[in-house]
Every structure is written in C-alpha cells, then in structure tokens.
Point group: C2
Chain length 335, copies 2
C-alpha cells in the first residue's frame, strides 16, 4: 500500500502527530526534525491522502462550475477564466452541465450538500421560477457566485453585464440601420438575463416610436432543431422581420442557417445582431455584429470573488455585484 504518515512515524521513531506537524511546517517542531521528516517523506514518495485531511479539515479544494452548456463561446471562455484563477490558487474545478434543464440543475445543486465542493460558480438555467434549490444551498453557507445568469431573488455575489443596456444598444443599432420590424429571439421567459435584454429591446423600440409587436418576440428552446423551426416560422410569415436580435449566441447562428436555407440575404433582407463572444464572428458569412461580453474576465472575476470569500470569510465578497461592460462590435451582418 501507499506510504502513510504512520509508516513514516514508526520508521523515524517519531509520533504520528510529530510527523504531521513537521509536514505542515508547524512552529512547534524543530528545524532538524522537520528536515529528517521531509527527507524521508521525499525518499519514500509520501503522498498525503486527500480524503483523510478533507474529512478533518472540512475543505476539499474543489469548486463547482455549473452552467447550461460548454459549446457556447461565452461559457467556454468563462471556463478558461475560471480555470486560470483556480490553477493559480491551487483549486480544482468540477464541471456540471444543466442543458437548460432546471430539474437537472436542482439535482446537481442538491448533491453539493454532501460537501463535495467548497464553493459554487453558477450560471443558472431558466427554470420555472423554482429557485428553491438555489436558496437551499445558499442557506447551507456554501459560498456561491453567479456569473452572467444570476438568480435575482438571492443576495449572493454576482458578476454580470448590463443586459438591459445590451438589448437596448443592439436594438437601437438595428433601428439606426433602418430596421423597423425587429424580432427578438428569446430563450426562456423565466430567465432574468433574457428578460432584461428583452426589456432593453422594447425600450429601444418605444424610444424610437416603434410599436412593440408581440408576434416578433419569440421564445426558442434549448433544442436546436426546435429553435430552427421556430425561427423559420417567423421568416415564412408574409410580414417577416427585417432585423433580428439573437439573445444568445446559438440563436444568432441559427438565424444564419435559416436565412441561408430560405435564401434570405443578410444583411440586405435581414440584419442580424447577436449576443456572442465568438472569436470567429468576424469570419462568418457575413461577419456577425455582436454584443460581446468580456467572458474570460467575467470568469476570472467570478472565480476571484469566490476564492476571496472562501479563503477568509470575506463578508465584503459575499454579496458584491460586479457589472462589467459589454461592447457592440459592428460587422457586416448589420451593414
């Protein structure tokens, strides 16, 4: 079997407690003894058992990242950001995908009560208003930080962008480019981030005296095929939109697919703008105008916040909200 602290102790004629303290560089062990212990541990290739210490210290060094999917540029960049901080701090990252399924999200969070992770970074999926599982986890004093998609009813730390402003800017941009029938592709009516973007969209329309047409606001789903059909439907309408705001990346690219299949030219027939952090947005046909969030930095910020509330119960970090700027990058899809 692997060499334990007791093995070292008996071999060196020391008590286990002495060895333990020596390895943790305790002040109450002489330099000489420490040297002996370290040398022998090295020689024997001693590797501390993670679970023994976790059991006693009630810390695992693991954090969870819970998000809808990973095949989305925002999330994959955010993971990069999170992972970079985690590696600096010596934490380990566990990843959980909800696929926008609230039930799955709930069962994932429920599991965290076992102490598997020290803290949680989460981008919630649009549930039917059932945030009880989130509140429950919060009540158990498990540090949580929301990034991008927060749960509004909870006073935890959050790293966000101004979604209302994003929706407003995107819509205003389309209006400036001459669009009058602008469609908003929503994802789930219960997702705060989406409804904020939608409110920005509606406000922008109102500001320019364009009536809000509920038929132009459509709820897509997490299923690609289904969303494709939904988007196609609005384009087959005799009164099809001349502009589209994709509230998440996939809806913008799906719009491209639909337009291609229907022989609608972007931007001549339809102008498209999407919330996306896709680095190759510039390489699309046509290049896609985006509202781009600082995904990597948001990941870093969220992780940093989490670790600071993990390392010392940093009250300040517990419920801080950081709002980071998103930018509109104009490209050919709206020219």
């Amino acid at each position: 079997m692997s060499v334990t602290i007791r093995k070292i102790a008996t071999d060196l004629n020391l008590a286990v407690s002495t060895v333990s303290k020596a390895l943790r560089d305790s002040h109450e062990i002489s330099a000489e003894t420490k040297k002996r212990v370290f040398a022998y541990a090295e020689q024997m290739d001693y590797i501390p058992n993670l679970y023994a210490s976790s059991l006693k210290r009630k810390k695992t060094g693991n954090i969870a990242v819970v998000l809808p999917e990973v095949a989305d540029s925002f999330f994959s960049l955010a993971i990069n950001g999170i992972e970079s901080v985690a590696q600096e701090k010596g934490y380990h990252v566990m990843i959980y995908l909800t696929h926008e399924n609230p039930d799955k999200e709930e069962s994932i969070l429920r599991d965290f009560r076992s102490g598997r992770v020290d803290g949680v970074l989460i981008s919630v999926s649009g549930g039917a208003g059932a945030d009880s599982h989130i509140h429950d986890l919060c009540a158990r004093r498990i540090p949580m930080v929301f990034f991008d998609r927060a749960c509004e009813s909870i006073g935890a730390a959050k790293v966000l962008t101004d979604d209302f402003e994003g929706g407003y800017k995107a819509t205003t941009h389309l209006i400036e480019k001459g669009c009058r029938r602008i469609s908003f592709l929503a994802l789930s009516e219960t997702l705060a981030i989406i409804s904020h973007r939608q409110h920005g969209y509606e406000e922008a329309l109102r500001h320019d005296g364009i009536p809000v047409d509920k038929n132009l606001i459509v709820n897509c789903t997490n299923d690609e095929r289904e969303s494709y059909a939904i988007i196609k439907k609005i384009f087959l309408d005799e009164n099809r939109p001349d502009g589209v705001v994709g509230s998440v990346e996939k809806l913008a690219t799906l719009t491209y697919s639909v337009c291609r299949d229907l022989n609608l030219h972007v931007p001549r027939d339809v102008k498209v703008i999407g919330f996306s952090s896709l680095s190759i947005a510039a390489l699309l046909n046509p290049s896609l105008t985006t509202i781009t969030q600082p995904a990597f930095e948001m990941g870093r910020a969220a992780a940093t916040l989490l670790f600071s509330s993990l390392e010392r119960n940093n009250q300040d970090a517990q419920c801080r909200t950081i709002v980071m700027p998103s930018v509109l990058i104009e490209r050919d899809s709206t020219r």
Copy 2:
C-alpha cells in the same frame, strides 16, 4: 452541525453499524429497521459525508478530464459526451486545461496521485517527449483513457480517429481540386496525432507525385498571435501555397484571418481544409471544408471505457483501442 450517522444511531437506540448498513440497504438488516432508519434519516435531512466514505472505500466518484483547451469545438463537444455518460453513471467531472503546456500537464497529473480522482480521461498536449509523468500515473494503477491525442508509448485504452487517413484524405482532396503547393500547418512536432496527419499529408503528396517541400510544413504554437505571424509569413512568400491543411481547428480559422487581412481570396487564391468539428463551419465565409471527427461520440466512448474499467477491473477495457471514423465534409473553401 450536520446530522451524522451516530446521531441517528443514538436517537434510534441502534448501533452506528446498524444504521450504516441500513442506509446502504444491507441484507443483514431487517426490513422494519431499515424503514425506521430511512424515515428518520429523511426527516432529519441526513446527508452522508462524502469524505468519510471516500476515505474508507478509496473511491471518490470523480474523474478527471485533462485537455489542452476548451475553446475548441472538438473538445467542447467531447466534454459534452463525457459529461453525458458521467451524469448517467453518477460520476463527477473535474476539468483541467493544459494549454499545450507539458509542464502544466505534468503537475496536473502529479496531483492525481493523491487520489483526488478515480480515473483520468486525457488528450495529451505535445510535450518534448516527456511522457514519464503519464507512465508514472499508469504505474499507480489509476485507470486512464486517452481520447483523440494519445500517448503512443503506453498500452492504455484509447479512443482515436485514423489521423493518417485524415491527413491523407484532406491532402488528396486539395490535390483533386487543383492545388499543387499545399501547406501543412502543424502544431507540435512531438504530438503523435499531428505527425500522423502530417504523414498522411506527405504520403498523399507522394502518391500524386508532388514533392514534399519542407518549407510548406510549418510548426505553429499554442499562442494565437504567434501562429498568426507564422501563417502570415508563408503567405507573404513569393511562392505562397495554393492550399492549406490546418491540422487543428484554430489553425484553419487563423488561416482565414490571415487571408482576409492579406486580401487573399478563399478558395480562389488559396483553398483551405481543416480538422474541425465546428457546427458553424458551414456559416463561415467561405464555408469551411473540414475533416470532422465524431467528437461527442468519442467523448462518450472514452468515458464509457473508463467507467467499465472503473466499475469492475475490466481487463478488456484497460487497453482497448477504439478507432472511430472521421469524415471529409466538402464546403466552399475548397471549391
């Protein structure tokens, strides 16, 4: 504090062992007692301490996924596949990014000796031939499954595609489309997957009587800016290539960027084909011809293999190699 098994035992006038066995549905506990224990545990919201049981059972239910990056369509889809199996089986996924850095990879694998994970899924980064850390982990009987990028010198389970064939097919395709000066954008000369693709490339050239020009084979890096400069350089040569094989996704899209910036038209001036699983390859400008691997399925297969060797020491699964088919999808970048 949280309710423990001992608390339940004393409250119910039972021994801790009885409660433990009851909760694990042991046959040596009567149905009636089990019912009492379950009911009380439920009522008290008992949540077993993960680390206590891990310590004793030497299993954590965690697996590690080690890969170069996550912002690559192949890897993000593979993660989806892995995660889907993991969730079915009740395992938890830890994610580690190496950023193609062998030192980082080594320190990551070294950590696994602590027992943090039960098994490892890995897509190696191109190191300077230093696979000793991989062998070391293998020697410690930690089940490993390689996916996509394997370590050749080791007899572990692998899920691959035929990279030689991929390189061969890609190159032959370009030749058929009229290319004569075909560049191969490599990543790291020490990465088996890349050298196989390169050998396929060279063999295809030879088969068609085209001399292999070493100047057309260039090693890019994991740094985007650096690779951009390298690619740009070959296009600024008076004898620039008329075809490009991107051995990984990012190199194909970088080629697009370079061509755009140099006003080179794809496919008229240069034809481009890339190894990629990008779902929006069809939406690029122009749409990108790809060698596409079944990324999701490969992730699933690798995870399945790992779990089968985890659950019972399935010797068969320990060193099985699964080769999955990749397909060439012709699009506009080579027309």
